[in-house]
């Protein structure tokens, strides 16, 4: 059984995001890793030789977070519901710390995502990792999203067309 984490504070959507190129870049790769399955990350990592080892600082552990929403993006914040989240933090032997918060209960995904986050902060490893782990995963996710968007678009109802038919 995964252990229940203490309640996790989710940043308010109204907060200003951290600025800077590194933050934006890190945010992008963390988002890709959070959406990738544990096996997919493991398979990509297996191709890379001689990665530094890491030890776990916290977790991986599962818990609930409250998801908040705003009607129309500008209304008052309300509690939409709780979702299961797994988090993990790891530290490389070289000192870099990586974090991951992923949806669901895949403990392996959380640990690998945190490890890759830490590995991507090592300048010498970053190009190889970005090329052979993050880029292919991002491409897969883009294809899947486009596929789903295409299926959804096919069911779209043109209300304007209905009105002109009368």
């Amino acid at each position: 059984m995964p252990q229940v984490a203490s309640s996790v504070c989710v940043p308010d959507p109204g907060e200003t995001p951290p600025s800077g190129a590194l933050e934006a870049e890190r945010r992008a790769w963390m988002a890709v890793l959070a959406r990738a399955a544990g096996e997919a990350i493991a398979a990509r990592l297996a191709d890379l030789p001689d990665l530094p080892s890491w030890h776990v600082l916290r977790g991986p552990e599962s818990g609930l977070v409250m998801v908040r929403g705003r009607a129309g993006g500008g209304g008052l914040a309300f509690n939409l519901g709780e979702m299961t989240v797994t988090r993990c933090s790891v530290r490389l032997t070289s000192g870099q710390v990586g974090h991951a918060y992923v949806a669901g209960r895949d403990l392996r995904q959380a640990e690998l995502a945190a490890a890759v986050d830490a590995l991507l902060q090592v300048a010498a490893l970053k190009p190889a990792l970005a090329r052979s782990v993050v880029a292919p995963l991002a491409a897969e996710q883009a294809v899947r999203r486009a596929d789903e968007a295409g299926k959804a678009a096919a069911t779209r109802v043109q209300f304007f067309a209905l009105r002109t038919m009368r």
């Binding site: 252990q3 504070c9 600082l57 916290r58 552990e61 530290r91 000192g95 710390v97």
Partner: protein, 195 residues
């Protein structure tokens, strides 16, 4: 080091089991004032905390408690923030938990009110030695024949300050003494006399 505030050390290996065991140990220590018991064995604590101090923090402190951290323990601040999620108290007077490396002025802490005596502060005091050092006689609930505890590193003013704290009962602060991998508790109900 990639970040200035790197957290180098993990917390409990099995957070739920270890925290429950440590909580039970704290309860037991409170029920038997002055009894020394093991705490935090196997935990690698961040400088300058001892394993017992770190284990008590991991067990008792979380995002809902206001923790005041001794300036001398500033090196462990990041570790505490990461593993406990504790909010820092603005002042020592408003803190519900006080992490101290030397005896603070007990009268300046949150002593609770007569309506809510349980809301008073708990002092987690790290001392150099427990079971060695100056001997103190203890009298109070939980001690049928009275007790004795040896603590190193407490200042001379301790017994005087404690007498004042004890006289406020049911108000007053509770003291958790931590050294190395052992812990002893001095609840507000106990009267202390130096030997």
């Amino acid at each position: 080091m990639s970040t200035a505030s790197a957290v180098d050390l993990p917390g409990f290996a099995a957070p739920v089991d270890a925290a429950q065991r440590c909580f039970r140990a704290v309860l037991d220590a409170m029920a038997h004032p002055g009894r020394i018991r093991g705490m935090g064995g196997g935990l690698v604590a961040p400088y300058p905390l001892s394993p017992a101090t770190a284990a008590v923090l991991l067990t008792l402190v979380d995002g809902d408690t206001q923790l005041w951290i001794d300036p001398g323990a500033a090196a462990a601040r990041d570790w505490i923030a990461f593993h406990c999620g504790a909010t820092s108290a603005n002042s020592i007077e408003s803190a519900s938990f006080v992490l101290a490396l030397s005896l603070p002025d007990l009268a300046s802490l949150d002593l609770g009110s007569h309506e809510r005596p349980e809301a008073s502060a708990t002092v987690i005091l790290q001392v150099p030695t427990l079971g060695a050092g100056r001997h103190y006689r203890l009298v109070g609930p939980g001690l049928r024949q009275g007790g004795e505890v040896a603590v190193g590193g407490l200042p001379d003013r301790f017994t005087r300050d404690w007498a004042e704290n004890h006289s406020l009962y049911p108000r007053g602060v509770d003291l958790l003494l931590c050294a190395g991998e052992v812990l002893a508790a001095l609840p507000r109900s106990v009267a202390i006399e130096a030997l």
